[in-house]
């Protein structure tokens, strides 16, 4: 079956009814030579002087154009090469830079890690030291009377002579209380208060006017002396001290009232803050 194609050339068109891509490819290769050559040749045949013109000047010019095009394309492709080469070189140097930076950062990181380890060790040392200091502080606060204290001990109630028991007029003086407290310290008391006034390092027991004062607080009779210490031995130990002997004398000879009992739990308040201040004394030596 023969038919005319779009370009007026005879070609088998078996696929006319079933168009496919093969048809297109066949047509492309079948019309590889421009139809115009044949048309122009046919036209020349009809002319009497229809021979080819010589030389082909225009054709030569076109061929020169072809040469120029090819060379321009080749040069362009070649000149694009060095640019890519340069870019690749830049990328490589960038990679090297980054790798150097990376290793530097890794080193720095290692240094910092060891620093962190050191500091953690130091922090642990400081922490345990702090614990020690806190323990020590707590104990010192207790001893100095800066905090309330609680524990077993003795409760001693003393009072002046009862009315009319004797004619000697036994009255408790500040010295008597000082002797009593001294005896208790000697017997092993750890914290002492008189009428709820805790005795600290700076506390004085003295007479002011008609009353006895402790920590600048006037006391009223009867005087209740509470002492924290070993409840089993404190009483007996006190009896053997000179203070204890002196008080037995007072009780016996002057009719002073003296009652002593052990207590399972005593609570002693803290020393007032103004009795804990020091102005002139400063510590000597380092912290323990």
């Amino acid at each position: 079956m023969i038919s005319r194609t779009l370009f007026g050339r005879r070609a088998p068109v078996a696929s006319e009814h079933t168009p496919s891509s093969w048809d297109l490819l066949e047509r492309v290769s079948a019309t590889a030579l421009d139809e115009d050559y044949a048309t122009a040749a046919g036209r020349r045949e009809q002319r009497p002087d229809g021979r080819r013109r010589q030389p082909h000047v225009l054709g030569a010019v076109a061929v020169v154009g072809l040469g120029l095009l090819v060379m321009a394309a080749a040069l362009q492709t070649r000149s694009a090469g060095p640019v890519e080469e340069q870019e690749r070189g830049e990328l490589i140097s960038q990679i090297n830079d980054r790798e150097g930076e990376l290793s530097r950062l890794a080193e720095r990181s290692e240094g910092l890690e060891s620093d962190v380890d050191d500091l953690q060790g130091t922090a642990e040392q400081i922490g345990s030291r702090g614990d020690e200091l806190l323990d020590s502080l707590s104990e010192h606060q207790l001893v100095s009377g800066a905090v309330p204290a609680t524990g077993p001990g003795l409760r001693i109630v003393v009072d002046d002579e009862s009315e009319g028991v004797s004619s000697t007029g036994g009255t408790i003086l500040d010295v008597d209380l000082q002797v009593l407290v001294n005896g208790l310290w000697q017997a092993g008391a750890e914290a002492i208060a008189i009428n709820g006034n805790r005795l600290g390092s700076l506390s004085a027991i003295r007479t002011a006017g008609r009353a006895i004062t402790v920590n600048y607080n006037s006391l009223t009779r009867p005087y209740v002396v509470t002492a924290i210490g070993d409840p089993d031995t404190l009483e007996a130990s006190f009896a053997e001290t000179p203070g204890g002997q002196a008080w037995f004398d007072l009780e016996t000879n002057y009719g002073i009232q003296f009652d002593m009992e052990t207590a399972d739990e005593l609570t002693l308040p803290a020393v007032p803050e103004e009795r804990l201040d020091v102005t002139y004394a400063s510590r000597q030596g380092e912290l323990p």
Binding site: A32, D36, A40, G59, V61, L69, A72
Partner: protein, 110 residues
Amino acid sequence: MIAVLGLVIGLVGGLIIEPEVPDAMRPYLPIAVVAALDASFGALRAYLDDIFDDKVFVVSFLSNVIIAALIVYLGDKLGVGNQLSTGVVVVLGIRIFSNVAAIRRHIFHA
């Protein structure tokens, strides 16, 4: 002979003056070269067929180059520049192959 001479002149001239291709036209140069090659092989075949014509060659040469570049330019604008370039190269390649095959048959009579 004059064609070979022209080709040599063109190549040497291109090498000497190193034509600077504008940046805007740079992507279309390779496809234009392929189109020019197609026109040139067609001309050679026509010459061997003894139906060569100057005017037809020049016109087909110019139109091939311009149309190929235009198609790729259009494809670039539409976002299918690569696909259209491939299509143009395939079509021109087939034409070059069949023309060269015809030339071969002419020269070697095979």
